[in-house]
């Protein structure tokens, strides 16, 4: 790699910086919302479409891919979920939720029409605009496809702004695959989809192995131009992105162009409760999306 520094455009950076809420009344403000659709994906995961009830609030609600929100079921609890839908749809979000605890099990019972609360959006997102003109690698493991569905939607809607777009998606078994009904549409939008499972079942005809196997194939033998102009977004279990990021690093993909989303259990989402701290960094404010250089500097991040 050429040891050449790049010019930093400060004005463009300032414009990108999104405004923080400094109003005291914002702290516990909940958007009353309705579950308008419940769509089971697998035995464990369901996609919930949630719409803000107030039309004015709905109009104002904006988020960027990678951000999360707090979903509240009064009397049951509140938990963070990353947004799984397109950022161009305002006031309505889709959350891909796995049954894992009290809140998510209860949610599975309430169904369509339930009134829930949402707060947010919170945290950092993937810098999609910065990626314009570049190749993108979207690498997901298991439930990690849920937060990736938002940048994928962005890439679909703005396909002309990107060069090559690759999705690498690995799961334990074919039965765990999420959003299977969308694969065809992604391919039609000229997004290369590579799926790999750890354990095949008799009907499985695709690849078997780890996502790094596919990544290796995609990255091998490319030009320097490809490596230097590629962004990677990685979501999945910690053990996966450790290996994926290591591999990306050996191909000299810049660490500032590799983004990961860290999972922590936020109780506030606003940098107060400390439950999401990694080392001593708030995942809810400085993250959940971090570039890999930052992650390397965080203790016990992965």
């Amino acid at each position: 790699m050429k040891p050449e520094l790049k010019f930093v455009d400060v004005i463009a950076q300032q414009q990108r910086r999104h405004k923080r809420k400094n109003d005291l009344a914002c702290f516990e403000h909940t958007f009353r919302s309705e579950v308008t659709s419940v769509y089971p994906l697998t035995e464990m995961e369901t996609i919930y479409r949630i719409q803000i009830i107030d039309p004015e609030e709905r109009k104002r609600f904006r988020f960027i891919p990678g951000q999360f929100l707090m979903l509240e079921l009064p009397g049951i609890g509140e938990a963070p979920f990353s947004i799984s839908s397109s950022p161009s749809i305002h006031g309505e979000v889709e959350l891909c939720i796995r049954k894992a605890g009290n809140l998510t099990n209860y949610l599975a019972k309430v169904g369509r029409g339930a009134i829930v609360g949402i707060r947010g959006p919170f945290g950092t997102g993937f810098p999609m605009e910065e990626m314009h003109g570049q190749n993108i690698l979207l690498i997901a493991g298991g439930l990690g496809l849920a937060p990736l569905r938002s940048p994928i939607a962005y890439a679909q809607e703005n396909r002309s702004h990107f060069r090559e777009v690759n999705i690498i998606y690995g799961t334990k078994s074919p039965a765990n695959l999420l959003f299977t009904y969308q694969y065809d549409m992604w391919s039609r939008d000229d997004i290369n989809l590579h799926i790999i499972v750890e354990k095949a079942d008799p009907s499985w005809k695709g690849a078997v192995g780890l996502s790094t196997d596919i990544l290796m194939k995609i990255l091998s033998g490319r030009s320097d131009d490809f490596y230097h102009n590629t962004y990677a977004i990685v979501c999945g279990p910690p053990v996966m992105f450790k290996f994926v990021c290591k591999m990306l690093n050996t191909f000299h993909i810049p660490m500032q162009k590799m983004f990961v989303s860290l999972e922590r259990r936020m109780h506030c989402g606003m940098g107060k409760c400390c439950r999401c701290n990694v080392g001593s960094t708030y995942t809810c404010i400085k993250g959940p999306v971090f570039d890999y250089w930052t992650v390397m500097n965080l203790k016990e991040a992965i």
Partner: protein
């Protein structure tokens, strides 16, 4: 800054005038320990004579008045198929804090930075903090105090007035106009040069009494370097993970949120409870994965947050050096020894 002096018996008058119209919290004797020494606590007081201005330190900070152990963030009323959220910041009356030491005032200043002056200011804290009137008093350094090492032995702001004992009278620093107006109700005098000398002498005398020191030079960096050090395992071995240190800490603000349904099934509430990073479930995520399953990793995290993370964010430590955690720790773990061991790379036998 405006300075005044007043005769000692005027203080009683001031407190009585203030107590007639306000609630006052001050240090009182709550009991005696097994050696017969008094145990002090911050309680609501109405009688000047029950206030112990020469108290050593309190077992618990005054935290429960601004960061209560438990408080409702909101409640819900069900109506039809939906619900309404009712938000209450749980503050209704101003409160006078009489007799806070510099360390406890500095603790508030540090909490202000994260809870009030950063993104998403917390209204539950702000509502209480903005309704505090603080009368600070000079302390008597104890053997376990290391506030001087943490730069928290003097309070420069965060109080309304601050009183120092000059022998036969009090020297008072006035920071707010509210304090200035309150002082009009008693007889005060303009300090003379000899009062300044007496004040400086009193402070110098006090400063001589600090015995415990913590070397904080490059501490943030050293904590990073020694992240894998075995000394953490040693402290983790003896730590009971009981969370007492956080409970008695004037700056620990971490919490958890839980929701419960009311017994009449017509409502629900969202409750915030102070938590401790030493408790096992602190960093647990959905599905049961725990990012800090071992005691040593949790204990280390606590030091990390206090002495590194907060420094990174606000250029000062979150520890004020009051020494309460060390005094209360059932396993006898204290900050000066832990930091010395991290710096030295070994446990002092």
């Amino acid at each position: 800054m405006i300075f005044r002096t007043f005769k000692k018996d005027e203080l009683k008058k001031l407190v009585e005038i203030l107590a007639a119209h306000n609630r006052i919290v001050g240090p009182v004797e709550a009991g005696r320990d097994k050696h017969g020494s008094p145990i002090y606590a911050f309680n609501e007081v109405s009688d000047f004579n029950s206030i112990r201005l020469n108290y050593t330190t309190t077992k618990l900070p005054a935290k429960r008045y601004f960061l209560p152990f438990q408080e409702d963030l909101s409640s819900f009323r069900t109506e039809g198929g939906g619900w309404q959220k009712i938000i209450d910041y749980n503050a209704d009356k101003p409160l006078i804090f009489f007799g806070l030491h510099p360390c406890d005032i500095n603790a508030l200043n540090k909490l202000d930075k994260v809870l009030m002056h950063s993104v998403y200011p917390m209204p539950y804290y702000a509502a209480k903090r903005k309704n505090m009137f603080i009368i600070g008093v000079e302390c008597i350094p104890q053997t376990f105090c290391f506030c001087r090492s943490m730069g928290a032995d003097t309070a420069l702001h965060g109080f309304d007035m601050f009183i120092t004992d000059l022998g036969n009278k009090y020297f008072v620093e006035i920071l707010t106009d509210t304090a200035y107006n309150f002082l009009k109700s008693i007889r005060t005098e303009e300090p003379e040069e000899k009062d300044h000398v007496l004040y400086m002498k009193a402070v110098a005398e006090r400063n001589k009494k600090f015995t415990t020191r913590v070397d904080t030079t490059d501490l943030a960096k050293i904590l990073d370097m020694e992240f894998q050090s075995d000394v953490w395992k040693h402290w983790g071995e003896i730590c009971l993970s009981c969370g007492t240190c956080s409970n008695v800490c004037p700056t620990c603000y971490c919490y958890g949120v839980e929701e419960t349904v009311d017994l009449d099934l017509k409502g629900a509430r969202k409750t915030k409870t102070l938590h401790s990073c030493n408790l096992i479930d602190f960093a647990e995520v959905a599905g049961g994965h725990n990012f800090r399953p071992e005691r040593h990793s949790r204990l280390k995290y606590r030091y990390y947050h206090k002495h590194r993370g907060f420094v990174e964010a606000f250029e000062e430590s979150l520890c004020v050096g009051c020494g309460r955690c060390g005094e209360s720790c059932l396993a006898g773990i204290n900050v000066p020894e832990v930091i010395a061991s991290v710096r030295g790379g070994k446990i002092k036998k």
